[in-house]
């Protein structure tokens, strides 16, 4: 691993994706230091390693971000930051979630710019930021328009955070990388599809069977590590190894599908969430259940050397 990526600070280190990344970094003998940042003290559940430093920081406070990077990160000589604004629970919404998604991202950008040791910031985003217009191609490359018209909520927060990083490219002293991941089907990663598949009976729009692209945790981790090791900056699509229609996904996941007219799904899922405290929100995922979306990963393949290589195991739980 190159020098720029041997001392890494990882936010959200106790989420599914964050913990997998920390494990992978520690498994590499070339890694000199990993600073695992989590909201609470659950960081102590990570496997012990002399190179691992745990930090319990409430990143929703901008001052905490500045103190973290100016203090422990500088002292430990952190050279790269991986920031993934993932929440364990997708149903969290409102100003608190927006502060964690958009506010923390902006605070990290400010704190990394001009930092004496940090050379690289990898923002792990989602391909859900792309728009769903009829003119959008099936395979979306990095030039596709973002969903600027998204309703306030999870998706719009992601668009704003992604845009915040993109707008700093070229003017920041830190090399900025945005990874737009395909649907990461893993627990504790804030995946709407994961929440959708938790119910034994999954409602789906009548008359539609979209093609979906799924990313495994192994591939997500590999892509992030490639982004840390590469020299190139910019935006990269991170595609997955599984491309399949929704109907096949439900069969592989061992779920029963109940097709219903699309307008009925929103109220039904809201009622289900109230009764059984389910996580899935249909209003945030409606477009994906009607019209599928795949990613063009040619740029990541060319500049990062990343290609999906780890299909999901079925069922994924």
């Amino acid at each position: 691993m190159s020098g720029a990526a041997s001392r890494v600070l990882v936010t959200g280190a106790t989420t599914g994706a964050g913990a997998a990344l920390v494990d992978a970094l520690l498994a590499d003998p070339g890694t000199e230091r990993v600073v695992a940042v989590s909201f609470d003290s659950s960081c102590r559940h990570l496997p012990w390693d002399v190179r691992l430093t745990c930090a319990s920081v409430d990143l929703s406070r901008p001052r905490a971000v500045t103190e973290l990077l100016a203090g422990p990160a500088r002292r430990l000589g952190v050279t790269a930051v991986v920031h993934a604004p993932l929440r364990r629970s997708l149903s969290d919404g409102g100003p608190a979630t927006r502060a964690l998604t958009v506010g923390v991202t902006r605070a990290l950008l400010d704190a990394c710019d001009g930092h004496p040791t940090i050379q690289r910031l990898v923002y792990v985003g989602t391909a859900a930021v792309y728009g769903d217009e009829p003119s959008t191609p099936r395979r979306r490359d990095e030039r596709c328009p973002l969903a600027f018209g998204a309703q306030p909520g999870w998706r719009r927060d992601r668009v704003e955070a992604d845009l915040a990083v993109c707008c700093r490219m070229g003017s920041s002293s830190t090399t900025l990388v945005v990874l737009r991941q395909a649907e990461l089907l893993a627990p504790g990663c804030g995946s709407p599809l994961w929440d959708y598949l938790q119910a034994p009976v999954c409602l789906r729009p009548l008359g539609f069977d979209p093609m979906l692209e799924l990313l495994s945790l192994a591939d997500a981790t590999a892509a992030t590590r490639r982004a840390l090791a590469a020299d190139a900056g910019g935006v990269f699509n991170v595609g997955g190894a599984d491309v399949l229609p929704l109907s096949r996904l439900l069969r592989l996941a061992g779920r029963r599908a109940l097709p219903l007219p699309g307008p009925a799904l929103g109220p039904l899922y809201r009622a289900r969430a109230r009764m059984r405290h389910g996580e899935f929100r249909y209003d945030l995922y409606a477009a994906r259940l009607h019209v599928g979306a795949l990613l063009d990963g040619a740029r990541a393949r060319r500049l990062l050397g990343y290609a999906p290589a780890h299909p999901l195991r079925w069922p994924p739980w």
Binding site: P134, S135, T136, P137, R138, R139, D141, P205, L206, G207, F208, D209, M211, A241, D242, V243, L244, P245, R248, H290, V291, G292, L294, D296, P311
Partner: protein
């Protein structure tokens, strides 16, 4: 199945499935052989492999011409033709899924670039909705002619094969076009007959055009004149092919023609 690139679960990235193609071919066989009695000539002009663009005339309430062209190419070459549909088509319930399983793709430039880069056989109807919306009196007269096929052909150095489809523009004419934009469609067509009429369909494949061999411009994006010239050439070739096929049909129905056939029997 040729031209099928499995994305890992038995479907290609656009939703094409081999089982669906087989099923559609079996269901379409009686329509092809007995209802429309398709008379196809010139399919040997299609390349056995590699990219190529088919351009054809378009008309009628629903794309009977596209369906018959798809069946014909499959039966004669074994290749799955990737028909290009308007962008609202994939968003139609049931119809969008069924067409995707048979290889129909939305008409976005990036998607077509991908297909041609992989050596696919792609069919475009450059008239677009102006073709299906034309008046019955304007049948077989090519309407507004888009340039996208010329750009793709030059970029991918793909031969362009004009295909004249005679019969489909009369089989199911439109009586009224209602200004209702259901699922994003430009209008809601009301057919003159409840079902397509059993008009005999003639498919004629013309000589392939090498648009990439036309004089190059300094940059593809800066050569609109070259693209327009290429598109005019394809339009002229297809219009001539249509006129020849219509003349052939008239001759076949002429009393002198019937007498000659009777003598031959």
């Amino acid at each position: 199945m040729r031209d099928f690139l499995d994305a890992g679960h038995g479907y290609d990235e656009f939703g094409l499935a081999a089982a669906a193609v087989d099923r559609a071919a079996r269901l379409g066989a009686p329509l092809y052989e007995r209802y429309f009695r398709v008379d196809s000539r010139g399919a040997e002009r299609l390349p056995a492999d590699g990219p190529a663009l088919l351009i054809a005339n378009h008309g009628g309430t629903l794309p009977v011409d596209a369906a018959v062209l798809w069946l014909d190419v499959l039966r004669r070459t074994g290749r799955v033709l990737r028909l290009v549909a308007d962008r609202f088509v994939p968003r139609l319930p049931w119809v969008g899924v069924a067409l995707a399983r048979c290889g129909v793709v939305p008409g976005t430039l990036q998607d077509l670039d991908r297909l041609l880069a992989r050596g696919a056989l792609v069919a475009i109807f450059p008239e677009g909705v102006t073709g299906t919306g034309k008046r019955f009196a304007d049948r077989y007269h090519l309407q507004a002619w888009r340039l996208g096929h010329a750009e793709l052909a030059r970029r991918h150095r793909a031969p362009v094969v004009p295909v004249a489809i005679v019969g489909a523009e009369e089989a199911w004419p439109v009586a009224v076009r209602l200004p209702l934009h259901v699922f994003g469609a430009p209008y809601l067509p009301v057919p003159a007959t409840p079902l397509p009429l059993p008009v005999r369909l003639r498919l004629r494949y013309g000589a392939a055009l090498a648009l990439h061999a036309l004089p190059p411009g300094p940059d593809l994006d800066d050569e609109p004149a070259a693209l327009e010239a290429a598109a005019r050439r394809t339009r002229a070739a297809l219009q001539q092919l249509l006129e020849d096929t219509l003349a052939e049909r008239r001759a076949a129905h002429h009393p002198a023609g019937r007498a000659r056939r009777g003598a031959a029997r």
